[in-house]
Amino acid sequence: MMLMPPFTLHHPTSVDAACELAAELIAAGEAFDWVSGGTDLLPNYKWHINPKPHVISLAKIGGTTTISGTEMGCMVRLADITEENGAHPVVVQAASKVASSLIRTNATLGGNLCLDTRCFWYNQGEDWRRSIDWCHKADCGTGADCRVIPNQNTLCVATYQGDIAPTLMVLGASVHLIGPNGARTLPIESFYQLDGMKKNVLEEGEFLLKVTLPEDAAMRTGSYQKLRVRDSWDFPEAGVAASWVAGDPSSLRIATTALESIPRTHPEQVEEVLKPGWEGVDSVKVLSTAVQKSVKPVNNTALPPRYRRSMVRVLTKRALQGMLE
């Protein structure tokens, strides 16, 4: 059976208390994880993937469920986003494609943005991982090599498979982080950091408190395209988000997800295609191919990387369909 490893669950009721608790645990040398909805963390714990002795829940911290066109708290449930609560339509589109309705009623925005990276050598039970002699990301102290790119144990190429981050990127959102060393705000593109283990810039004890969108995000329209085998449950095998201000091609932004260890925007490709001026269908063609060429998926999800890469072109084209209308 998949037995949950034992841990101590903490329930701070304010941001300050949470930071204080984190500081105490750090001082005591105790490892811990944050948990919000738990739909990502707890299954991994059941598989004994990097479990920690302490888990701090954000569920009882007040003020984290705000939801509007310009602000969303970390404890906002994905199901709440998908209902008409004023969230940006592009975000709603992405949120409604996450996993299944059952999972969306528990899963949170914060959790989705901080989703652990995934890899079929890593998201497995303990016996299974023992049979491959572990891997770099969960090496159980063995210094094991990466199983995707062998003969090295410095880079983890596990794939980030969140759906919502790319939509926030193209809307120009910022993330608000807080921890024992204070608060900071940064654009969401800077939040993610290469390497499948590091994943993002969160420092020890820090957590993602909320996301804000600029006022002009409301002017933006756009689309999120997700590639998956089944219309329910499946993580994206590739995802492309695009947004623009209607009638203004120069406002175009594109971001991709589920192709590399981090989601990211593609400003160079957009800039390149805008240089000679926007030419409708032709520009879409050039841009789709350019975005496709700029991503480098590896073989660690359900579908082969060559195919996923080919599909980036199609997804980009479909995401930009609205610009041509």
Binding site: F120, G125, S131, V229, R230, A302, L303
Partner: protein, 934 residues
């Protein structure tokens, strides 16, 4: 007649005193009435009584031997399964719901290596861990077992070698799960790692260390577990084909994906008998294997089948973990429970074999199917399981429903270092059926004819014999094809829809029960036995060993008993869980239960009926021939007012002897050929089906969505149409998984990469098309009330129907299953290259223009339709054997009238060089013929 007769008048007359009080000890039994909430007798339901015996139920296929036993009670009526209340209220007790006092938890130590010798196991640290109560290793049980007596190659735990990652090495019982899991880390096992084999093609080659060793019967030093060669018919027919199809298929292994993981509880009771609780499809096989492995007589073991949370063939082997639980329980003196997680379920597997299948088909100038050449190399994984049978089924179950000029099959099953393959819904027939039906589609294109007409003009009729000697009785194939053609508006859609939209046809043929009871001679013991007991309360207790795995076998048995005795379903109580009380039944596999078990139940019920009628005769004075059984009352045919209640008749029958007891059994009739392997695929009846599927293909991404299915299945007679429809829809879902998204992915290191239900992609409700189930009733002469199977056959046609529909949509033949979007997209890229287009939206979908053969086929099909109708109704009783279509005389042995007619089970030396992939196994010799020392 009208209703209005009260059941069991109750305590009238002498049992009441003048002052109105009851006379002590003289109470009428039982008070009041036997009808529960319905004291009035229901009128006879003439709509469900056959025409032949005076009812209104139409019988297009003619009369049936059980017509006289019909009472209009339940047969043919949509009936909720009798155990559904327990399930929907959460009270059904599945494997892991069993909780015995003092139970402890068992855990299994599994191999981290694909293939290794076990040099030593040190358990001392495990034993020293507080809370550990028992430890066992392979040394505790040297006896081998296996589901088939001819291939017993499993141990409770590895004895000498581990054969795949996840193979059982040792086990431990501890006071709780956490302790047991901690204990697993304390085993010290020394392995000598061996070179593993993953590719079944490599399994055909000699190796230093074959995965199993069969002594003098071992094939050279290969990993071939079983090879088959079969050749029938006139091989000269294939030489000048008008059309031919040659396809090489690569089909991934798939798993049953049942909801309930394996779970077992073992307990040695105070008398030293083993009580084993397990969700099993084949409790009797488990019973036998336990006796062997534990070295105790079978009568000292009681196998208790819990509710089964889905089986589909995945719970139809005796399993090593069942042995482990029994061994740990014996050692610890405590009940031991072992429950699998999903990963362990994949490691024990027994799913459909990963297969390389090559099919060559030819059609002659009259569009008759002159040749079927099938070569199937199947990947058995680490153990034999049902593989011996699968090796045959991959070929022989393709020999119908079409009339063939010749048939040639080579099959081989090899061991590899992967979890064992086994039986899965549609056992052995699914993959080749898909290849064959797609081949027909391809040939129809070359012949410029409609694929449905090609089929209709080449069908074997009812009451005929296939090329390899199977006896076909009822046959609703033609009607099934006609119904789906009409329902789907085929003639206005096929080859006429725009790019990306497609429609396809596929047929199916499957056994309704395996003709051979694996463990014994069919002439000595019956296939199934059912006991019925009726005591004074009037309730009918039916004892059967039939294992209800959710398919509704308990309901089917209850229904046929209720039908014969004309009793409400709630008066029938089926007891089928314990081997102590159930007569031996082989279990739920090969779609045998309704056919065999219900037949046995009808016999037992008829015996009870005879006793009741005789009692009524004694009371009423009318001969049983003139008595009618209807809803808890027996009455005179010509004057319904003259009659007695069921209870009164029962009590009369019980005088002097107490409870009525009856036993019924089913035996299959003698049938089939005498060649080697003739029994494989032999069944007392066969089911037929035809599906049309409609798909949408996104040509830019390769994503396929099946939108509509018209699914016609010939189940003989739908005892319970609700259950039959459920089986058809469920089969569609399961088959769609195999054809579109499910596969067991073995990565570059040979590890199973997706042993979980997120990455093993069973279709969700979003992927489910609208399914229009169409029941065809061909009324099988030997089936219970005419019934045949409906549990497995309905899965077969959905695969080829979808593959053919994808071709209709995009004009590209795909032969790698499943058709995941990357596979389809790769095909589309090839198609674009061939067509010289850069945008997939510029591809052209195939079109058809009928040629000269089309009207000839339509005419032939019309003639055959008349032929089939009179044969189905037994108006035409002339013999029909495969070959009549080719002008042979059915009254003479074929080998006497056709020069070069072959019937061979071994290749001729000159054939060897031309054999296909699996056929290469025939290049090797068995050890006993090699002149070696073994």
């Amino acid at each position: 007649m009208s209703g209005g007769y009260r059941q069991q008048p109750g305590g009238a007359g002498k049992t009441i005193r003048k002052d109105g009080k009851r006379v002590a000890g003289k109470q009428a039994f039982p008070p009041p009435g036997s009808g529960g909430s319905k004291p009035e007798m229901a009128p006879r339901d003439l709509d469900f009584i056959p025409e032949m015996v005076g009812g209104k139920e139409a019988q297009p296929a003619g009369a049936h031997i059980h017509d006289r036993a019909r009472t209009g009670t339940t047969v043919g009526k949509p009936t909720a399964l009798v155990d559904s209340n327990a399930k929907v209220t959460g009270q059904a007790w599945y494997g892991d719901d069993v909780r015995l006092s003092n139970e402890v938890i068992g855990k299994i130590l599994r191999s981290p290596h694909h293939y290794a010798k076990i040099k030593s196991i040190d358990t001392s640290k495990v034993e020293a861990l507080p809370g550990v109560l028992a430890v066992a290793t392979g040394a505790d049980s040297p006896h081998q077992f296996g589901v088939l007596p001819v291939t017993k190659d499993e141990h409770a735990m590895a004895v000498e070698k581990v054969r795949h990652v996840g193979d059982l090495v040792a086990c431990v019982a501890a006071v709780d799960e956490a302790t047991a899991m901690a204990a697993l880390n304390l085993f010290e096992v020394e392995y000598e790692v061996l070179e593993p084999v993953f590719d079944p093609k490599k399994g055909l080659e000699d190796t230093d260390e074959p995965i199993h060793w069969r002594g003098k019967y071992h094939l050279a030093r290969t990993n071939v577990q079983k090879r088959v060669f079969q050749e029938f018919g006139d091989r000269s027919l294939v030489e000048k084909p008008l059309a031919s199809s040659h396809g090489k298929w690569n089909m991934a292994g798939v798993h049953h994906g049942f909801t309930e993981p394996h779970a077992v509880v073992a307990h040695w009771d105070p008398n030293g008998r083993l009580q084993l609780y397990t969700p099993q499809q084949v409790p009797h096989y488990t019973h036998r294997a336990l006796a062997t492995v534990l070295d105790v007589p079978m009568h000292q073991i009681n196998v208790i089948r819990t509710f089964v949370g889905g089986g589909f063939g995945g719970k139809s082997d005796p399993f090593p973990h069942e042995m482990c639980a029994a061994i740990l329980s014996r050692k610890s003196g405590r009940p031991v429970r072992i429950t699998f997680d999903r990963e362990e379920v994949y490691w024990i597997n027994r799913g459909r074999h990963p297969s390389h299948i090559e099919v060559k088909m030819t059609a002659d100038e009259e569009a008759r199917i002159s040749g079927f050449d099938i070569d199937a190399l199947i990947d058995g994984g680490g153990f034999a399981s049902f593989g011996h049978v699968t090796s045959y089924y991959n070929g022989v179950l393709a020999t119908a429903p079409y009339e063939l000029g010749s048939f040639h099959y080579t099959g081989a099953r090899v061991w590899t270092n992967k979890p064992a393959s086994g039986a899965m819904r549609g056992h052995g027939a699914v993959n080749t059926r898909c290849a064959v039906e797609v081949g027909l589609d391809e040939m129809s294109e070359q012949l410029k004819v409609d694929p449905i007409d090609l089929r209709l003009a080449n069908l074997l009729p009812p009451h005929s014999r296939t090329i390899s000697g199977f006896r076909i009785t009822s046959n609703g194939m033609r009607e099934a094809l006609e119904k789906v053609r009409e329902g789907s508006d085929w003639d206005n859609k096929f080859r006429q829809m725009p790019l990306g939209k497609g429609i396809g046809i596929g047929c199916g043929f499957f056994i309704s029960g395996s003709g051979l009871p694996i463990h014994w001679d069919p002439n000595r013991f019956p296939h199934a036995t059912v006991h019925i007991q009726v005591d004074m309360d009037g309730g009918v207790t039916v004892h059967t060993g039939a294992a209800d795995i959710g398919q509704g076998s308990t309901t089917a048995v209850a229904q046929v008993v209720a039908e014969v005795l004309a009793l409400p379903l709630e008066m029938i109580h089926v007891r089928s869980h314990e081997s102590d009380t159930s007569p031996v039944d082989l279990g739920s596999y090969s779609s045998r239960v309704t056919f065999m078990n219900a037949n046995a139940a009808i016999r037992a019920a008829l015996e009870i009926r005879e006793q009741l009628l005789k009692a009524a005769w004694d009371v009423l004075g009318y001969h049983p021939n003139n008595l009618v059984l209807n809803d808890r009352r027996i009455y005179y045919k010509h004057d319904p007012a003259i009659g007695i209640s069921y209870l009164k008749a029962l009590h009369k029958a019980q005088e002097d002897k107490g409870a009525l007891i009856a036993s019924g059994a089913y035996r299959s009739p003698p049938m089939g050929g005498v060649h080697k392997g003739a029994a494989a695929g032999l069944a007392p009846a066969y089911s037929f089906s035809a599906y049309v599927a409609e798909v949408d293909v996104d040509v830019e991404t390769g994503l396929v969505k099946c939108t509509n299915v018209w699914a016609a299945h010939d189940c003989g007679k739908a005892l319970n149409p609700l259950a039959v429809k459920g089986q058809i829809i469920g089969s569609c879902h399961m088959g769609l998984g195999q054809v579109l998204s499910e596969k067991m992915v073995y990565g570059r290191t040979g590890h199973l990469q997706n042993p979980n239900l997120l990455e093993y992609k069973i279709p969700s409700v979003h992927e489910m098309p609208h399914v229009e189930p169409i029941i065809i009733e061909s009324c099988d002469p030997e089936g219970p009330f005419g019934a045949k199977e409906a549990g497995e056959g309905p899965l077969l046609p959905i695969l080829p129907a979808v593959v053919n529909a994808v071709y209709d949509a995009i004009g590209i033949r795909l032969r790698d299953l499943p058709l995941t979007p990357d596979v389809v997209f790769k095909g589309i890229e090839k198609g674009m290259k061939a067509a010289g287009v850069v945008d997939p939206l510029d591809l052209e979908s195939p079109r058809v223009e009928h040629g000269d053969l089309q009207p000839i086929l339509v005419k032939r099909a019309a003639e055959h339709k008349k032929r089939d109708r009179s044969r189905q109704r037994s108006e035409d009783t002339s013999p029909y054997v495969n070959g009549v279509l080719f002008g042979f005389d059915p009254n003479l042995p074929l080998e006497d009238q056709v020069e070069g007619w072959r019937m061979a089970t071994e290749p001729d030396p000159e054939q060897l060089a031309a054999l296909g992939l699996a056929g290469k196994a025939w290049l090797k010799k068995e050890q006993r013929h090699m002149g070696g020392d073994e």
